[in-house]
């Protein structure tokens, strides 16, 4: 269950590519000072979200089996993760795609390739904006 920390602390990183996870995790931990949990698939993400006490999900779109959009819908459908804020981190960022993510309820989109030194600040900014929106 999302504990709703006053501050953004724990991030669930969902990406099927191990090296992308490695790089993103290091960027978020060393530059951003976040605690990062990893999931390699949509199914893993659902399980992790149920038990992990996360504040935010960084979600890839192009994944085998269950893609990011399906994962997003499943997260929303589950009691444990229904209010968990989601940021899509994806290479699929045509304007129409970005609008679709936001319309679905994502709090933001970070295009890949992301800047490792700036991604933490960007996540923090999206988190803050989402707080402001509520």
């Amino acid at each position: 269950m999302n504990s709703g920390h006053a501050e953004l602390r724990r991030i669930l990183l969902v990406d099927d590519e191990e090296e992308v996870r490695l790089v993103a995790k290091m960027a978020l931990e060393t530059v951003g000072g976040f605690e990062v949990g990893e999931a390699a698939s949509g199914a893993d993400a659902l399980a992790a979200a149920r038990s992990g006490d996360f504040d935010l999900v960084l979600l890839d779109v192009m994944m085998p089996a269950m893609d990011g959009l399906a994962t997003f819908d499943a997260l929303r459908a589950s009691q444990a993760s229904r209010d968990l804020p989601v940021v899509f981190m994806t290479a699929k960022v045509q304007p129409s795609e970005v609008r679709a993510y936001l319309a679905r309820g994502a709090i933001g989109v970070i295009p890949k390739p992301f800047s490792p030194m700036e991604v933490s600040g960007e996540v923090r900014r999206l988190w803050a904006n989402r707080e402001a929106k509520l």
């Binding site: 290479a91 304007p95 890949k112 390739p113 490792p116």
Partner: protein
Amino acid sequence: VHDITRRKALERSMRRSEALFRATFDQALLGIVHTDLEGRFIRVNRRACEQLGYTEDELLALGYLEVTHPEDLTESAAHHQRLLAHPKEPFEYQVTRRYLRKDGSVLWALASVGVIRDDDGMPEFFLTMVQDITELKKVEEMKNEFVSTVSHELRSPLTSIRGSLGLLAGGAAGPLPKAAHDLAVIGERNCERLIRLVNDILDTERMEAGRMRFELQRSDLGSLAARAIEAMQGYALGRKVELRLLAPARPLAAEVDPDRFIQVLTNLVSNAVKFSPPASRVEIAVLEHDGNARIEVRDHGPGIPDEFRDRVFQRFAQADASSTRAAGGTGLGLYIAKGIVERFGGTIGFETAAGRGTTFHVELPGTTTAPALAAPRLAVSA
């Protein structure tokens, strides 16, 4: 006797004319159908039957309602209404339209529709010529899918490369010896350039395929310019160039896609900074000019060489390949900027003077009324 001879000659001539029409109608590579004003087919040629998969008798028992794709009926009906409302006005149009074959599959067609009139000039029936472009559509879709896949396949490894080099160069993986740090910085910089190149190639492809989507909305150009400048500030600082915005006395609006407008300005400013000497200034002015909005981006660089001036807006055009490469350009920025500005119904051009600098200007039509506020920005990082 005279009359009979003349009548026979006339009949012969009419038969010949009819035979000519028949042969042309039947052998045409285009599907040709004649449709009465109620939408029933009255004549169909062989090719039309082949295209739709019906025999001639089957097709003649149908009308355009049965063979036109439901989603394209509205557009087709609108033309029909126009003809009924103004029967004596010229009527002819070309359109890409989908038809349905007998087996239910879709026939993509380029259709040319006109009308045959009676002696009083009133419409008698429609004449439609149909070119099958189904294969062309398939190839186009495959190409789009290919470009989209390539883009994703390129971005995935670039994500890891940019991330790794960025963390190394940024010191996040621990301190590096100076030489190693310098190498990481070179790698990172060139990785970023490759990313810009992939993005620009994708934009170019989309633009040329007419698939670059635009959401035109009345936007305040001054605040969009401020956002473009903000996005370029880091790059300008790195090259010791000052960016200055000269905003208009009162808000100035035009119909643009805000993100694409910012892309145009970003390309122009990036270009201006690239050719600016250190400690110089790039001025971005938003002003009113003959009832149009005009945006100027002025640098104090060396100016554009004479021999290059007519190629400035071409793809991969570079006045001096080595300097562009050193500055990290893609050679597509101005080409894309021109394409976008033209989609806004505007124009782009430049004035340049050797040793004094260059001013690029964009003119956008119809800007004198009070502006709406620019739409809130999408939550996407730069």
